[in-house]
């Protein structure tokens, strides 16, 4: 039963990955935007730090590779929100609900497939641009599997936060404004552009308590400055947050689905 479900959702994920890889030009345009952001920030950090200065232990090269890691995660996550909102508004969600799939896990499989497709390309383009701008990453090969594991957990956290916000479409007409603010919270409390170590102490403490730093800051920090203890702590906290977010997503779904009313068909 369980293995059958895993097979079903894996097939869904691989189909959505294949559909993303089928349009490399679309993905490439997104990657050009990514390269542009990296270019701007390399210029900015070069102006602020020069070639040999550092800020709180972060050199210019570390800053650029940190940004490459956070932006790879930020720009790779699939935009499921618009699709869910459209489905709820148009009533098409009724078709998803009658399939032998759970709505949340169905969305999760699609998200994982699409996100993996984006991430592969973004990581390649980002690494090429960062390498051209500042040289090799300050990371050891041995730490890469651990960093990828933390990044995968970060994507899962992203999914459960996004799907919960998207399911607010069961109650409100337009969820887009919530996503604007969510993305800016990731910018700030997630540490998208600067590591949270650079923040004033009081703000750093707030950022550490909230889940958002486990989405961007922790994977990127471990990538540019790996530490086994920090990895175990971050991975442990990510597991706890994923469990909490799964509960929240399923609670929202159970409440929201009661609001669906389908007429005719």
């Amino acid at each position: 039963m369980f293995s059958h479900a895993i097979k079903k959702y894996t097939l869904l994920a691989s189909t959505s990955l294949a559909s993303k890889l089928a349009y490399p030009l679309d993905a490439l345009v997104r990657s050009i935007f990514f390269a542009m952001v990296l270019f701007i920030f390399t210029k900015l950090w070069s102006t602020l730090l020069g070639a040999d200065r550092a800020i709180l232990g972060f050199s210019r090269a570390q800053m650029v590779w940190y940004l490459m890691a956070t932006e790879s995660i930020m720009l790779s996550n699939a935009r499921i929100e618009r699709r869910i909102e459209d489905e709820v508004k148009s009533g098409a969600v009724a078709y998803t609900l009658v399939r032998p799939l759970h709505f949340v896990w169905y969305q999760c499989a699609i998200f994982c497939g699409e996100t993996l497709g984006h991430f592969l390309l973004n990581a390649i383009v980002g690494a090429a641009v960062a390498f051209a701008l500042v040289g090799l990453p300050p990371a050891s090969l041995a730490s890469i599997p651990a960093v990828l594991l933390v990044a995968a957990m970060a994507f899962l956290m992203q999914f459960f936060i996004k799907v919960t916000i998207a399911m607010l479409a069961f109650w409100v007409e337009d969820t887009q404004p919530f996503f604007w603010v969510y993305s800016k919270i990731l910018f700030t409390l997630g540490g998208l552009f600067v590591p949270i170590d650079v923040y004033p102490e009081w703000l750093k403490r707030i950022a550490e308590i909230l889940p958002f730093n486990y989405v961007l800051y922790q994977p990127a920090r471990l990538f540019v400055s790996f530490d086994k203890e920090a990895f175990l702590r971050a991975a442990g906290m990510q597991v706890l947050w994923v469990v909490a977010l799964v509960v929240l997503a399923f609670f929202t779904f159970r409440r929201g689905v009661k609001k669906v009313s389908v007429n005719g068909g």
Partner: protein, 260 residues
């Protein structure tokens, strides 16, 4: 000119009133966009806790740059809110509706929609300008510069979308172009090398959307203002030329659909 301005004003009023029909959605969009813009300033606030200046720009200057770019984008989306859909309209043969009307096609397509969230952008920009410049004539100058920059920005983005006449749906290229203008515009121009700066005054004229308006508000000079106006007139003329040259290649989609 006055007739065109009146047409644009009346169309914008109708668009905003239509958006306000869904009052909760409208207010949510305005308020959340305001919040979104405030959070965008956060990055610079953190940097200026650590550094006194960024390539000669102080916190006050960078915040003014943000206000000007956000205001420009807000005005462009409020007045010319249909620009982002131009590619799709061309590619899907939806231009027929506009061709049948006794108005300038280029202008009529661009102004036939307004973005509600754009009002949030403009409120943010205007409030930040008052906060930075006080209740002074400089605020009025800032709004005038945002308006001119909004016209230029719209013309450039519309030109990129008009490539759909030649390339099929050019939406992605146009979106990338508009994102490039907005993203490069949000950073002090002095962090870039001389070559990039030359590009910003020519190929991707970001400088006329951000750097030139900010300089005019800080230190107004007639020659720079004349250059700003000339760049805008040139941008609009080029955009219209690309659009109307492409329109000759346009084939109707014979689309019969209600326009809501």
């Amino acid at each position: 000119m006055a007739k065109t301005a009146r047409f644009v004003w009346e169309q914008m009023k109708v668009n905003v009133l239509a958006a306000m029909e869904y009052r909760v959605s409208f207010l949510t969009q305005v308020v959340f966009m305001l919040l979104n813009d405030i959070l965008l300033l956060f990055f610079w606030w953190v940097l200026f806790q650590r550094f006194d200046e960024v390539a000669g720009w102080q916190q006050h200057d960078v915040f003014l740059l943000y206000a000007m770019v956000a205001g420009t984008f807000g005005l462009a989306s409020a007045i010319f809110g249909n620009t982002g859909r131009l590619s799709t309209i061309i590619a899907e043969g939806q231009l027929d509706y506009y061709l049948a009307l006794p108005k300038d096609v280029w202008l009529n397509v661009l102004i036939s929609r307004s973005s509600a969230s754009a009002i949030g952008d403009f409120v943010f920009a205007f409030t930040l300008c008052i906060f930075l410049l006080g209740f002074s004539v400089q605020v009025l100058l800032a709004v005038l510069c945002m308006l001119i920059a909004a016209v230029l920005y719209t013309a450039l983005v519309a030109m990129a979308h008009s490539l759909s006449f030649y390339l099929g749906n050019a939406e992605q290229i146009a979106s990338l172009f508009s994102e490039a203008i907005m993203n490069f515009g949000l950073y002090p121009i002095s962090i870039f090398s001389l070559t990039v700066r030359v590009l910003f005054f020519t190929v991707i004229p970001v400088a006329f959307i951000s750097y030139v308006p900010v300089t005019l508000v800080r230190n107004f000079t007639w020659p720079l203002f004349a250059l700003f106006l000339a760049a805008t007139v040139l941008g609009v003329s080029l955009s219209r030329w690309v659009f109307y040259a492409g329109l000759r290649r346009y084939e109707s989609g014979n689309l019969v659909a209600p326009r809501m």
